[in-house]
């Protein structure tokens, strides 16, 4: 089966520090893939290269065979790569529904319309998306009043408005209560399955990862050190060392010396 996303030899250094080194992986259609690793492993850097905010030093990122490296972020969005932010970003001066409407307006390329009333455009579509994330009741509330967990769900609806083929979620459950985390990921997993969207996400909560991810990549110090299903990853000695050792592999070697 052909991959939706093909990453080959992706590398990025910051002033001599290799934040991401020679990372390659593929992502199949409808796959829910987790990218895990300790703090500073290079997960965010990796994401930023996938969605065009950072130019890689080397490597290629292909979406359905088309090269994304060198494209502007907004082009990549238009190619069908959606994202959610580690710290939620919404338009705070708009209502919940208007935020989704803006995404729909952008998706349908109506941004330079000077005449229509934005608040009356794409209402059924926006409400359908809000239903999907169970936010319909809050549609008329200003975003600035929402609880954090609700903002996370709203971001998901906004990302889906673009009908993405690939969704990048950097720490989607950061800052949420444990019970909320499980609920959000269950919701996401359901949508993925239903719509055939592929998802790459990073996550700190291992319960969440093992419960939902179809496959797991482990990043440490910029390098992929393991790849496999939940069971395989749990039993991988190197991964255990990275996580249970309370630090990175190399730091432990340093301690032993």
């Amino acid at each position: 089966m052909m991959s939706v996303l093909e990453v080959r030899g992706l590398s990025k250094s910051f002033g001599g520090v290799e934040a991401v080194a020679d990372v390659s992986f593929g992502l199949a259609r409808g796959e829910f893939l987790a990218l895990i690793g300790p703090n500073g492993a290079g997960k965010t850097t990796c994401f930023n290269m996938l969605n065009g905010y950072l130019g890689p030093d080397r490597g290629s990122v292909k979406l359905n065979g088309q090269e994304l490296v060198g494209m502007r972020p907004r082009r990549i969005v238009r190619m069908g790569v959606g994202r959610t932010f580690q710290i939620t970003l919404t338009f705070l001066s708009m209502t919940v529904r208007e935020n989704v409407q803006m995404a729909l307006i952008a998706h349908h390329r109506r941004l330079y319309d000077l005449w229509s009333r934005a608040a009356q455009m794409f209402v059924p579509e926006a409400d359908a998306l809000l239903d999907l994330v169970s936010m319909r009741e809050q549609a008329g509330r200003p975003c600035s009043e929402l609880a954090y967990g609700d903002l996370k769900r709203l971001e998901l609806a906004i990302a889906l408005a673009h009908e993405p083929v690939l969704l990048l979620m950097d720490e989607p459950t950061a800052g949420m209560a444990p019970s909320e985390r499980v609920a959000l990921m269950e919701l996401t997993a359901g949508i993925v399955q239903e719509r055939g969207v592929s998802v790459l996400f990073t996550e700190h909560d291992m319960d969440v990862v093992f419960a939902h991810a179809h496959r797991i990549l482990v990043l440490n110090r910029g390098r992929l050190i393991a790849e496999g299903t939940g069971t395989e990853i749990r039993e991988n000695a190197l991964v255990q060392e990275v996580y249970l050792g309370g630090g990175t592999v190399f730091a432990r070697e340093g301690d032993d010396a």
Binding site: P73, R74, V77, R78, R83, F85, L89, T90, F91, L92, S93, M94, T95, E98, M102, A103, I105, A106, H107, R110, L111, Y112, D113, L114, W115, S116, R117, A118, A119, M121, P142, C143, S144, I158, H162
Partner: protein, 617 residues
């Protein structure tokens, strides 16, 4: 050869005083993140103080230099007073309030200086001991210029020592790089900020004091120097002292040679250099990306379409306005045209500033271009009023497209400074291009044609143009384009993640706001029958800001309300002596006590008095 060398020396001498004022501005910005408009006022006060001291103290070398230093120190103390009473309260306010508050200080100083020293220009005596010229390569060079050339680098070296050899200086540098770090060190911030402000003010005072043998002290010094100082700070990189020095030298020397080829260029050149530098290095030669915004504003409430009652009340008001010429006197009719013009201008400014988050200190540029384009269409091309009224907004849109392209590449205070610089350039072009614009004498005889010459008929022309313009801008605000502007203001990253072209959107917003300001300007030209360079002045820009602030920046109806209040206040205050002082005081009161506008201020007052319950329990 000798001639060119002399020209170079003149350029370097000019660079010194420009450096003194710009580096103070830059240091203050670096630490406090405030762009201090009143810096030009410190420069002016320094010059006046030095004049008084030099002419009172016994003449002589000692008397002269003592006066210069004493003037600088007194300005430092004045700066301390301003910092403690005003700025300290607005360090965490959004950048708009900071800029406007320091402009209020400018107005207060203008009238303060007028009251103390009078309106006459005051030319100081030559500097004793340095009052002759020496011949260098056959060319006479004033000795005083040579002294100035030395003083610039000396001050630069002094600041370098201060910043690298003293604990205080190290802290200032640390704060410039990362304000949170200073918090973490537990440094007394208030003390650090005051110290920086005093230093910056004293440097500006020194720059002014050193100018008196070369240039008469005048009431226009403050605003004429601040535009150029802004440009120098932006080119050098905000917060960088060395950058200010390099930029001051660059601009002054280029200028000294450019005027040989094209004498009128001196007003435009700094902007051209700035534009080139900003394209290559968006944060200036020595600047680093950093916070260009003041504190965060409270999140705004979502826009609501008007309720049917609201719409009815509004329709009734517009209807009453439409019928007013039948009822009110001719004089009131003319005043109502003023109100409509001001309102359209304010609404267009609010469009880019309130909705788009792009604070403009030069919006009058587009008002003025619209007014001049309309006037010139009549006086040169011989067209009638209606084509002229179309030419106004078109020309303004073209100007806004040109300058906006540069401006939207920046944001926050950088953008505000660039809009100001752009307006100063346009003002300079209009002022100097006498053959075309009439210079200071303006363009006269821009009257409506026969059929509209009656004030009441013209009222309807203005009514259609202004109310129509306001209605169109409101419509756009509720349309996807306006929502997009607001979205970019709320979160640029989010907007980009939606696939929006952020810069293009802002650019178009800038141009649209400029076009409607131009429409207001065109109506203005015909209502007055003439246009003068004042139409593009900083004061006109600040009038617009005041209207928006008075009405409250967060409401779409704010500028409409604010313009009405403003024109009424202006009508009353401008008849008084020292109206600038009163105006400056009003600005400070609004910014310090009622940052959400008069309506918001009244609301809060009622809440404090217990007459109305707040939304939150």
């Amino acid at each position: 050869m000798g001639f060119y060398f002399a020209q170079l020396l003149t350029g370097l001498a000019n660079a010194s005083s420009l450096f003194l004022i710009a580096c103070g501005l830059s240091i203050i910005f670096g630490v406090t993140r405030i762009v201090n408009f009143a810096h030009g006022s410190f420069y002016m006060v320094g010059a006046y103080l030095a004049y008084t001291l030099v002419t009172t103290l016994p003449a002589g070398i000692f008397g002269f230099w003592f006066s210069v230093i004493a003037a600088a120190l007194i300005v430092g103390v004045v700066g301390l007073i301003i910092e403690v009473t005003i700025l300290r309260r607005i360090y965490h306010a959004p950048e708009l309030f900071q800029l406007v508050a320091t402009f209020g200080v400018v107005l207060i100083f203008q009238d303060g200086v007028l009251a103390i020293w009078g309106a006459e220009d005051l030319l100081g005596p030559r500097a004793p001991g340095l009052d002759r010229a020496v011949r260098i390569m056959g060319e006479p060079i004033p000795e005083y210029d040579l002294a100035l050339i030395l003083i610039g680098p000396l001050v630069l070296a002094g600041i370098w020592l201060l910043f690298h050899r003293t604990r205080w200086g190290v802290l200032v540098r640390a704060a410039t790089q990362d304000r949170d770090m200073v918090d973490a060190l537990g440094v007394n911030q208030a003390w650090l900020f005051s110290g920086v402000f005093v230093l910056g003010a004293a440097l500006a005072g020194l720059g002014g004091a050193l100018q008196i043998p070369r240039e008469a002290a005048s009431l226009q010094m403050d605003l004429s120097v601040i535009g150029e100082a802004f440009v120098v700070v932006v080119i050098g990189g905000m917060g960088s002292v060395a950058g200010a020095f390099v930029a001051a030298v660059l601009i002054s020397v280029l200028n000294a040679f450019a005027i040989l080829i094209f004498p009128q260029i001196s007003i435009v050149l700094p902007f051209v250099v700035m534009a080139v530098v900003l394209i290559v290095r968006p944060y200036g030669l020595f600047g680093k990306p950093g916070s260009e915004h003041g504190g965060a504003a409270e999140p705004e409430q979502p826009l609501r379409l008007m309720s049917s009652q609201g719409a009815m009340v509004l329709a009734a008001l517009v209807f009453a306005l439409a019928l007013s010429p039948a009822v009110v006197s001719e004089f009131s009719s003319i005043l109502l045209v003023d109100v409509m013009v001001a309102t359209l201008f304010a609404v267009s400014l609010h469009f880019m500033m309130g909705l788009g988050g792009m604070v403009s200190f030069g919006h009058a540029a587009y008002f003025g271009v619209g007014a001049y384009a309309a006037a010139m269409t009549v006086s040169f091309l011989g067209f009638g009023m209606l084509p002229a009224m179309a030419a106004g907004p078109l020309a303004a849109a073209a100007a806004a497209l040109f300058f906006g392209w540069f401006c939207v590449r920046l944001s926050g205070v950088y953008l505000a400074m660039l809009t100001l610089a752009a307006a100063q350039i346009l003002w300079g072009v209009v002022f100097q291009w006498q053959d075309v614009t009439g210079g200071d004498d303006g363009i006269l005889g821009v009257w409506p044609p026969e059929w509209a010459s009656d004030d009441r008929v013209f009222f309807y022309v203005a009514f259609v143009a202004c109310i129509g313009g306001i209605w169109l801008l409101r419509r756009v605000a509720h349309a996807p384009f306006g929502y997009g502007l607001r979205g970019i203001r709320d979160s640029e990253l989010r907007a980009e993640a939606l696939g929006m072209d952020v810069k293009l959107h802002q650019w178009m917003g800038f141009a649209l706001a400029g076009a409607f300001a131009g429409l207001a300007g065109a109506v203005f030209a015909f209502s007055k029958g003439s246009v003068f360079p004042d139409a593009l002045s900083i004061a006109q820009s600040v009038d617009g800001l005041m209207m928006v602030l008075l009405g409250g920046i967060h409401a779409l109806a704010g500028p409409i309300f604010g313009a009405g209040v403003f024109v009424l206040i202006e009508d009353w205050v401008s008849r008084l002596d020292y109206w600038r002082f009163i105006f400056g005081a009003i600005i400070l009161v609004v910014v310090l006590l009622a940052p959400d506008g008069v309506a918001g201020g009244v609301e809060r007052l009622l809440r404090v008095l217990g007459l109305r319950r707040g939304d939150a329990a």
